[in-house]
Amino acid sequence: MAGTISNCIGKSPLWLAGLLSLALLAGCGSGSGEATTSNVKPDNGDEVDRPGVAYDGPAPLTEDVQNFKLYLWDNLAFAERCGSCHVVGGNSPMFVRTDDINQAYQAAVPLVDLHTPQLSTMVSKVAGGHNCWLDSDTACADIITGYITEWASAAGSISNEVVLTAPEIKEVGGSKNFPADSGDYASTVYPLVSQFCSGCHAEGAPLMQQPYIGSADVQVSYEAARSRMRLDDPARSRLVERLAAESHNCWSNSCASDASAMADAIAAFADLVPVTEIDPALVTSKALQLGDGTVASANGRADNYIIARYEFKTGSGAIAYDTSGVNPAVDLTLYGDVDWMSSWGLRFNNGKAQASTQTSRKLFDQITSTGEYSIEAWVIPSNVSQEDARIVSYSGSTQVRNLALDQNLYNYTHYLRSSSTDGNGMPALATLDAEERAQASLQHVVVTFDPVNGRRIYVDGELTGGTDPVAAGNLNEWDSSFALVVGNEVSSDRVWNGAVRFLAVHNRALSAEAIASNFDAGVGETYYLLFSISDLINVTDAYVVFQVQQFDDYSYLFSEPFFTRLSDDPIPTVPLEGIRIGVNGREAIVGQVFAALETDINAAEYANGMQPLSRQGAVVALEQGSELDTFFITFDQLGEHSFARVEAEPPVPQPPADIADQPTLGLKSFASINASLAAMTGISHTNAAVQTTYAKVEQQLPTTSGLDTFVAAQQMGITQLAVAYCNALVNDTNERAAFFPGFNFGAAPAVAFNATGRSQVISPLLNALVAGDTGGALNTQANPATLRAELNGLIDTMGACGGSCSADRTATTVKATCAAALGSAVMLVH
């Protein structure tokens, strides 16, 4: 159904609890539930560089008019904001007229939505490019949203209800998707951007201006340009609009001509991209884009004490705006390798975002006046291997600071200069090693200080276990000349790699409840996408609704689906199985969390305007960008409609490649060597001397059979073990008599090692090795004659002591012969 239907389904507390965890914080936006005073100060003209507007007209007739003046009028009435036009004698609406605040209020009321401030006409007008006083329309819009929010909070009218609006019905059509290969791009669009944009937008350009659409590498250029081209409507591509509407560095005398050339090039590229047609057999919902969704209110955050806020929505340029509305704005200037994230944020690769010392003084003034603060950030550390890496610092160098939030491996660290610490904020408070709080994923990190509780660190809404090593102290030692810096130290030598998606400075220590609320509120914009299923279940205005947000630069998060219908039609009981998310005409291949869903839509579970289907979330790849991607959902079964999904048979694996020239022999393992020596000598492995040696050499012995892994150290170990066994054998008169029958150990070498004696020693050893002649020599074993010759040679060498042989030389020679034989490769290789 076309048109707009409003159905306020958010009035029930149960609905609020079920749908929006943030909704518990009604009205004032404070998480603590206590009465609060706003920080948004009306500009009273004290600021040197921004004189306020004096009002001397009639007094406000009501308290709401007074709030309007305090929170909105005082902040917008400057000539450089709205005061040069929207005043008497200027353009309507005259909401900043200076002659009568009550008439200004009447003019302003139609422009603001005190239930959902971000939906105010005044906000959307400025966001759409209407005379923003900054370079970023979104920054102005956010600042005005902040003013209206504060007004609404003071009036107690702010709403956390979500009013779902029926979207325009769009069929799921075929669409074009960017090909992975950049070949067609290279022949159409790339010649233009490489010629005319490479002077700035390239890695090698002096300015190194992102995005690198002019890169010498066509693939890099393509990746950067993809989100800036519209295959469905080339003329509305960002690359074209930048030239046509913003006259951004046109290369000829005519921006219109350049824009036309760019549009033609993109059109030529788009013509080469085939349309992805939707499978007609699929059971699909209607289609939606992110912008068709209902914005989920982010109210419920405890923002009353914010003195600086960065939401990083600008998306380009060299300034990250402080949109707190508290003057002066502590805008951050980007230096070095810092990228904007399309999901709102800054990614620090090796750069920083730093404010001037002049504007940073606001932090000094506001924080020392309360003696408390909180630094709140949504961060994504790139890794957990970086040390002493500054995420946020308010400092003068690596040696002097007022405060800092650091990452140190798995820990977050909180530095604060106070009466209890030194000028560098040491000793610091760190999260506990064992807790490993810092992870390389999106985390909500808050550090707080107040004179009672001292420093604290909260991660993902939880107070961490670190104990402050010093007493709380006070902030009397703070220095007003420092600068706020993000992603590094002011001296640029404490690099932090990661992304910051939100940063706020509060001049109060937020309560644990407030921090938990801010964590629950999340980061980024969330939309309710209402996928129409009316024609599938024959219910007017029936939808499966997902909460959808851009999760990071590469994906969307689809979460907490529920069924709702905006009409009064009765709800039938129909089976619902297997929801899959489709993007641009095809189901996403990866990430289909709801594919296994198996439930019914039914009236019994429908309460407070909805039937929850799952509490889970699915991460689905972003394709063309959040402004271009079109979504739909499919069902394996919905009511009478079903899709028979057939899993393809897996391909039969190919046999692995042959391995040529593998040896057919190998080494024995350490345990087999030990067991072999025990078996051959008859000496138990439990023999004390043997055990001692084995314990010493065990890990020196071979563990794998590969002949090419054999090293000298292993032979040394084998030898030592063989000597231990042979020593035990020869030292035991019974054992040796049994092993070497007939051999005369008491005789001198010259006598003992006659031909008979030698045979009495060598033959048992060769038999033990299964390398003797008994039964005939084995073809695969060492040649017995060669072995005998080697061992006889050893005996000759050992016996060459003439008349000066020691009494034990014969036994020693047998031990040596034994060890040489049994510890040899004849034993080792099998």
Binding site: R347, N383, S441, G498, F519, F551, D552, Y554, S555, S559, I589, V590, V593, A595, A596, Q616, A618, V619, A621, P650, V652, D658, A660, P663, T664, L665, S669, A671, S672, A675, S676, A679, M680, T686, E698, T703, S705, Q715, M716, I718, T719, L769, V770, T774, G776, L778, N779, T780, A782, N783, T786, L787, E790, T812, A816, A820, A821, A825, M827, H830
Partner: protein, 405 residues
């Protein structure tokens, strides 16, 4: 310098080695008997055994010859001990003491039991009572260390016991070696219990997670502790992480009630810990149900992730590329607890072929490297199944194949 010094001996040893390596010749029954005995038992045979085996080979009864080699205690103390020990620890080192996992594998082989009991049965092997060893304790490895250090023949001194009576884990929660003390100490300690699945796949289906990687499975069971955007880049999750976790997490859910508990302060190496199981009626204080707290750690990493409520496991890998693991079509592909998961794994074709492949590498001292080797694996796998999963049959078939010609 002593003449019996290592350097002198080394010269002799090298010379002897060269003389051996120069020898290449055809293998007759005696040569084959030596090879079989050395590869199976790890030690040289006595002359009498060599003769006995060669005669059996000559008569065509190679199987009996291999059985003789397997009767040598070296088969247990050297060959099986070295073969099995790496499966029982995360470092996959063979330099670890005998333990209940190793002993149980040895016992199942010796008793020619259905080797699928390895992952399913209420069984543990211990040393016999008459050996005078310290009694089995679920809190330490003293019993097995003493057995290893003793003179006892491992092959004859192992006794089959009822695991549940030794460890206190209920009979229905036993799953062969997966619930042994050694496996618990290695794979249930700390962490998230995914290690038990990973190492069981690695050791008994011969596949590490890279080999079962499949990003197309439904990722609804991936727990909250897995970041969907590591370092802020969800491509890493969508291209890599999900490929393992989508299949692994629903399988590892089978271990949701298990833990290895130890005193981290007095026993940092976890040497004196014991397996713990939340039996029916027991509640984990952190989760409020039987699920161990470790299944819910780091829940804020991705809050909309899966919250494990029980030990119901599900095998998504039955479909898609991992269907080639040849899952048993008579089983449901889902269940509750480790025992039924063990049945799912042990009845897969991959389990049987993995055992054969491991034995082949152990006995032939090389990887299967050509069509003939692969045919042997296929035939031996069939014979393994036909024998009622008697692993000795696999040793017989591979030893016969690699005995030389």
């Amino acid at each position: 310098m002593s003449l019996c010094s290592p350097s002198n001996l080394r010269l002799s040893v090298i010379a002897l080695g060269l003389s051996l390596l120069a020898a290449t010749a055809a293998a007759g029954p005696r040569e084959q008997a030596l090879t079989i005995h050395s590869r199976i038992a790890g030690v040289p045979p006595s002359t009498a055994v060599l003769t006995q085996m060669s005669e059996l080979i000559s008569s065509g009864d190679t199987a009996q010859a291999v059985r003789i080699a397997m009767d040598n205690d070296g088969f247990y103390r050297a060959t099986l001990k070295t073969w099995v020990t790496p499966w029982t620890n995360r470092d996959m080192t063979a330099f670890a003491p005998l333990n209940d996992y190793t002993a149980t594998v040895m016992g199942l082989v010796r008793d020619e039991a259905d080797f699928r009991e390895l992952l399913t049965a209420d069984v543990l092997y211990t040393g016999a009572d008459d050996l005078g060893l310290p009694t089995y304790s679920s809190n330490d490895n003293t019993h097995y260390q003493a057995l290893q250090d003793s003179d006892a023949e491992l092959g004859s001194s192992l006794v089959r016991r009822t695991q549940s009576q030794l460890t206190g884990v209920p009979a229905e929660a036993t799953a062969g070696v997966m619930t042994s003390r050694a496996a618990a100490k290695a794979f249930f300690v700390a962490g998230t219990n995914r290690a038990m699945l990973r190492f069981t796949l690695l050791n008994h289906l011969c596949r590490d997670l890279e080999q079962v990687h499949d990003v197309t499975r439904t990722p609804d069971r991936i727990r909250q502790d897995v970041s969907r955007s590591p370092g802020g880049d969800s491509r890493v999750f969508l291209n890599n992480c999900v490929g393992c976790h989508a299949g692994m997490d629903p399988l590892a859910q089978a271990f949701a009630y298990y833990d290895y508990e130890y005193n981290a302060e007095s026993d940092p190496d976890a040497e004196r810990g014991a397996i713990h199981y939340n039996a029916e009626g027991e509640t984990d204080p952190a989760s409020g149900d039987r699920t161990e707290a470790k299944y819910h750690i780091n829940a804020s990493t991705f809050a909309p992730g899966y919250i494990t409520p029980n030990d119901n496991w599900l095998n998504y890998w039955r479909e898609g590329p991992n269907a080639i693991l040849a899952w048993d079509p008579t089983l449901a592909g889902s269940g509750s607890g480790a025992k039924s998961l063990g049945r799912e794994l042990a009845n897969s074709g991959a389990f049987a072929s993995c055992q054969v492949e491991k034995v082949f590498t152990q006995v032939c001292l090389r990887k299967p490297g050509n069509a003939a080797d692969r045919a042997l694996l296929s035939n031996a796998t069939s014979a393994f199944a036909a024998s009622g999963y008697n692993l000795k049959q696999v040793f017989i078939d591979t030893a016969d194949y690699c005995k030389g010609e």
